[in-house]
């Protein structure tokens, strides 16, 4: 096992600007799956999903508490997890366990504008880009890996793009630019 190294990835959109909110994952063969026993919550607050994108490990159970006065009907038609939380009210919490990796698009059947994602990942190296379009992973073992970017605006299957990469012992710092 090689020593862990820091990996920094910057994502730029088709316009060349840093793309915040994109989920970058680094799949390293042999890396241990993250622990699914944490508490994961996607609130419905102000007719929005909070957070907009929730990154959870495979097997995690996510609670969907309703903080609004109106009722919501949260659903997903995504392949990794299809569910349908019929109308529930304020302070009513439903939970869903996501046992397949992938991106689950959340919607509310009442409020079309509500959109959220549960990013179910099997790798511990998964994070959202910050305002500068950057993510940083620490402790990544050197060697071959697959770098993957997901963002709803990416016009590709699963809204994600991937490319193989080599993490050096000293780590990796790279920029991914999206092209049309």
């Amino acid at each position: 096992m090689a020593a862990a190294a820091p990996v920094s990835v910057t994502v730029r959109g088709v316009d060349g600007a840093p793309l915040p909110g994109a989920v970058v994952t680094l799949e390293v063969p042999g890396a241990a799956a993250p622990n699914p026993n944490g508490t994961y919550t996607v609130e419905q607050r102000d007719i929005q999903f909070q957070p907009h994108v929730a990154i959870v490990p495979v097997g995690a159970t996510v609670a969907f508490p309703n903080r609004d006065k109106v009722r919501h009907h949260v659903y997903s038609f995504s392949k990794p997890k299809k569910f349908d939380l019929k109308l529930y009210g304020r302070e009513d919490t439903r939970s869903v366990t996501f046992d397949q990796p992938g991106v689950v698009a959340l919607g509310c059947n009442i409020h079309d504008s509500m959109s959220g994602f549960v990013f179910v990942t099997a790798t511990p190296f998964a994070a959202q880009t910050d305002a500068a379009g950057r993510v940083t992973f620490a402790g990544v073992p050197a060697g071959g890996a697959t770098l993957r970017v997901w963002h709803p605006s990416i016009r590709a299957a699963g809204n994600s793009l991937s490319q193989p990469t080599q993490v050096a012992a000293t780590g990796l710092s790279t920029t991914l630019s999206l092209h049309r």
Binding site: Y75, F77, S78, K82, A105, L106, G107, C108, N109, D112, S113, M114, S115, P152, R155, A157, N159
Partner: protein, 789 residues
């Protein structure tokens, strides 16, 4: 006024024969020109208006089409959205439930009324359609810029409108695509939505970048390309020339999937259609114009007629006036034509008055006021014509010619004033006596009375009444005058079928009455006419005789009973007519007297007689008869002088024999001439004494050298005591006046004895000798002769 000049006014080249046509044509032409002008201006204004209005309407329609286009999109998109957001549908799409998707699309197709509804998933798979359209629809969501949901594509030559609605779960998991063919039916739908009659046509871009219509109604044309390509910039309707007619057009390029439009909507407004609403207006203007033109033609025709009618009437009246008829025109109005008409009438009246006066002078005799010969002839013509129409059933036309017997004597003795007064009286008298007659004065002392269809005896009775009345004295300025009249009557149509013939016949009858001793009436007889013809012939022959010297002289001895020898010869005229032989002087002398030929004949006789007598012994005289007319002719004295001078005959040997008729026309001048002749030494004998108008006053007024006793007294002198007494009285009278006497026509010894016993100086007659020629006369003088008894 120029209209009345000979050269007509000209309006352009055509010449009109009537003023009316000319005026009517002028008015109609002027109106037609004005009308065409109005119609032209109206058409221009209307066309301009129509163009402006079409431009505005088309621009407005373009805006409306834009909104309709957008509304249609919204409507289609709404319908698609309803399905795209349906939870069940989304669930079916998410789970790949193709049959549910297809049934939902079918339902959407029905609901939205579109022929094709498709679902395209993220992998580009299409549910609901196959073929090229599905392929185009599958590409559309991925190729279209974000935010657009509408595109017009050309697929296999057909234009389709694609409306996209994303299926959100809540991220896009696919799209519903509705495809609407933009075909003819869709265009008609669009046209129906417009308030104006537009034509919508779908254009598509060809491979070489030009524009053409799908239905072929608009052929490729650079102008069309320009119109479509400039449409996003110009955004204004522009004129477009098409084979089907000019139109105003507006092009709307329709956004395709890419940036470049593949199809365009062309909406156009044909000018013909734009002008259609104005057509009734134009037809109305045209129709009103035509009606106006007809009204103007009728009206100007009537106006022209009302102007031309008085002029035509003047024209006609002037022609009538020219032909001599009385003409007057109606005076209408107080304008120039009215004044002209009034002037014309005054002129016509003036002409008529002057004509009347001239006719009066020409047809009437100023002295008596009676019609003259000219008007008599006219009246006679009319009466004869009228009588001819009735075929003379009521009798014919009768003409009486009257001649005053002694008018000339009255004029000479009492003066012209009395003569005129006498004529006036006769002129008053005749109409009073013949109220049924037409009375005219023909010449100085000649009158005529025309009786139309009189009762059978009326002409004779009237003539007799006039004879009787004028046999009594008329008193003129206290002078009682017995004038006497001779009347000749001719009865038409037998005596003459025309005025001239009838007048001539009446004239002949009058002549006969005159020659028959005056104071009588005579009807015309055919013989008179024959005599007149012969006389005319004789006249012609006589002229030739004078020219050719057909005359000879015969000499009858006058025996001197006291000296018992021939004391002289009487020269007697003989005419050897070329065809009729010897003619008696009694036959031709009257004609010679009437024609005046007596003057040259008498001159010849005078010369010839003197020339013959110069060869005779000095005691033998030559007696020459001189007619009254010859005697009164101006040159008679010089004729005598020349005859004497040429022959060298002593004047005392010439004896001029005159009759009392020389005194008929006045005594004074005759007596003066007689004295002049006497002064020359010429002897004067009074011939035919005792007959005719014998008046002893002649014997007193002039001392004749000899009186010749007419044979009518001499012949019965031996048997008739009264004749003997008259002869005795004449001889005694002559003796008392110291005048010689000669008895004429002595044929028997008894007569000679009686005359000798009564103391007659000389005798003449067959007893002694017939007239002989010059040679015989000379021989006779050489032979001693003795009177027997």
């Amino acid at each position: 006024m120029r209209l009345l000049t000979a050269r007509p006014l000209r309006f352009g080249s055509p010449r009109f024969h009537s003023l009316r046509t000319r005026l009517a044509t002028l008015y109609a032409a002027l109106f037609a020109v004005a009308l065409i002008g109005v119609a032209g201006v109206a058409h221009l204004v209307i066309a301009g208006n129509a163009r402006a209005s079409v431009t505005a309407e088309l621009a407005a329609s373009g805006t409306v089409y834009d909104r309709l286009w957008a509304l249609r999109e919204a409507s289609l998109k709404g319908a698609a959205d309803v399905v795209a957001r349906d939870f069940g549908f989304r669930s079916a799409v998410a789970s790949g439930d193709a049959s549910t998707i297809a049934s939902a699309l079918d339902s959407l197709r029905m609901r939205a009324g579109v022929p094709t509804a498709m679902m395209v998933d993220l992998d580009g798979k299409v549910v609901g359609a196959t073929g090229p359209l599905a392929k185009a629809a599958a590409a559309a969501p991925f190729a279209m810029p974000a935010g657009r949901s509408d595109a017009v594509v050309v697929v296999a030559g057909h234009v389709h409108r694609l409306v996209l609605s994303p299926i959100l779960a809540p991220t896009e998991i696919g799209w519903i695509v509705l495809a609407v063919p933009l075909d003819g039916a869709e265009m008609r739908n669009l046209e129906r939505l417009s308030a104006i009659p537009l034509i919508a046509t779908m254009l598509r871009r060809t491979d070489d970048g030009r524009w053409t219509s799908l239905d072929g109604s608009v052929p490729p044309d650079p102008a069309l390309d320009r119109l479509v390509d400039e449409a996003p910039v110009a955004r204004r309707p522009a004129p477009l020339e098409l084979p089907s007619g000019d139109a105003l057009a507006l092009a709307k390029p329709l956004a395709g999937i890419g940036a470049r439009a593949q199809a365009a909507l062309l909406i156009r407004y044909p000018y013909a259609a734009a002008l259609a609403p104005y057509r009734p207006l134009e037809l109305g203007i045209g129709g009103a114009g035509l009606i106006g033109l007809m009204l103007v033609m009728v009206g100007s025709g009537r106006l022209a007629r009302s102007i031309a009618r008085p002029i035509a009437a003047l024209d006609k009246a002037a022609r009538l006036l020219e032909e001599g008829a009385h003409a007057e025109v109606e005076v209408v109005g107080r304008d120039e034509i009215g004044r002209l008409a009034a002037s014309f009438n005054r002129m016509a009246t003036g002409i008529a008055e002057r004509e009347h006066r001239i006719a009066d002078l020409a047809f009437n005799d100023t002295l008596t006021g009676l019609p003259n010969r000219v008007s008599l002839r006219e009246t006679l013509d009319q009466l004869i014509a009228r009588s001819a129409r009735t075929a003379g059933r009521n009798g014919g036309v009768v003409v009486l010619c009257l001649d005053l017997d002694r008018f000339k004597a009255v004029n000479d003795t009492l003066g012209h004033d009395i003569g005129d007064g006498l004529l006036r009286q006769v002129g008053n008298l005749l109409p009073a006596m013949a109220p049924d007659g037409y009375i005219a004065r023909l010449s100085a002392d000649e009158f005529a009375i025309v009786l139309a269809e009189p009762a059978p005896d009326r002409p004779r009775a009237l003539a007799q009444a006039i004879l009787d009345r004028l046999a009594m004295p008329l008193v003129v300025e206290e002078h009682p005058i017995t004038i006497g009249v001779s009347i000749g009557i001719a009865v038409g149509p037998g005596d003459g079928a025309s005025a001239d013939m009838l007048l001539k016949s009446a004239g002949l009858a009058l002549y006969r009455a005159k020659t028959d001793g005056r104071g009588v009436l005579r009807f015309f007889e055919q013989a008179l006419d024959e005599a007149a013809r012969q006389r005319r012939e004789l006249e012609l022959d006589l002229r030739e005789a004078v020219a050719q010297g057909q005359f000879t002289l015969a000499f009858q001895p006058i025996f001197d009973l006291k000296a018992d020898r021939i004391g002289g010869f009487e020269a007697l005229l003989r005419w050897q007519h070329p065809t009729r032989g010897w003619l008696s002087p009694t036959e031709f002398i009257p004609v010679a007297e009437e024609t005046g030929l007596i003057v040259p004949i008498g001159e010849w006789v005078m010369r010839e007689a003197c020339r013959t007598a110069i060869r005779w012994p000095e005691h033998v005289r030559i007696a020459v008869n001189v007619s009254a007319l010859q005697f009164r002719s101006p040159g008679f004295q010089s004729v005598v002088l020349q005859a004497l001078a040429a022959s060298g005959l002593e004047p005392r040997r010439l004896e001029v024999e005159i009759t009392e008729s020389v005194f008929l026309d006045g005594e004074g001048p005759v007596v003066a001439l007689l004295h002049r002749l006497r002064a020359m030494g010429v002897r004067i004998a009074l011939d035919d004494f005792g007959t005719g108008y014998s008046s002893l006053s002649y014997l007193r007024s002039f001392p004749f050298d000899k009186i010749k006793i007419d044979r009518s007294f001499v012949i019965p002198v031996a048997e008739d005591k009264s004749a003997a007494a008259i002869v005795q009285a004449i001889i005694d009278l002559a003796a008392a006046l110291k005048t010689d006497t000669t008895a004429e026509g002595v044929e028997t010894e008894e007569q000679l004895a009686a005359l000798r016993a009564q103391g007659c100086g000389t005798i003449q007659g067959y007893l002694f000798s017939r007239p002989v020629d010059a040679g015989a006369a000379t021989t006779m003088l050489a032979t001693p002769m003795h009177a027997v008894a």
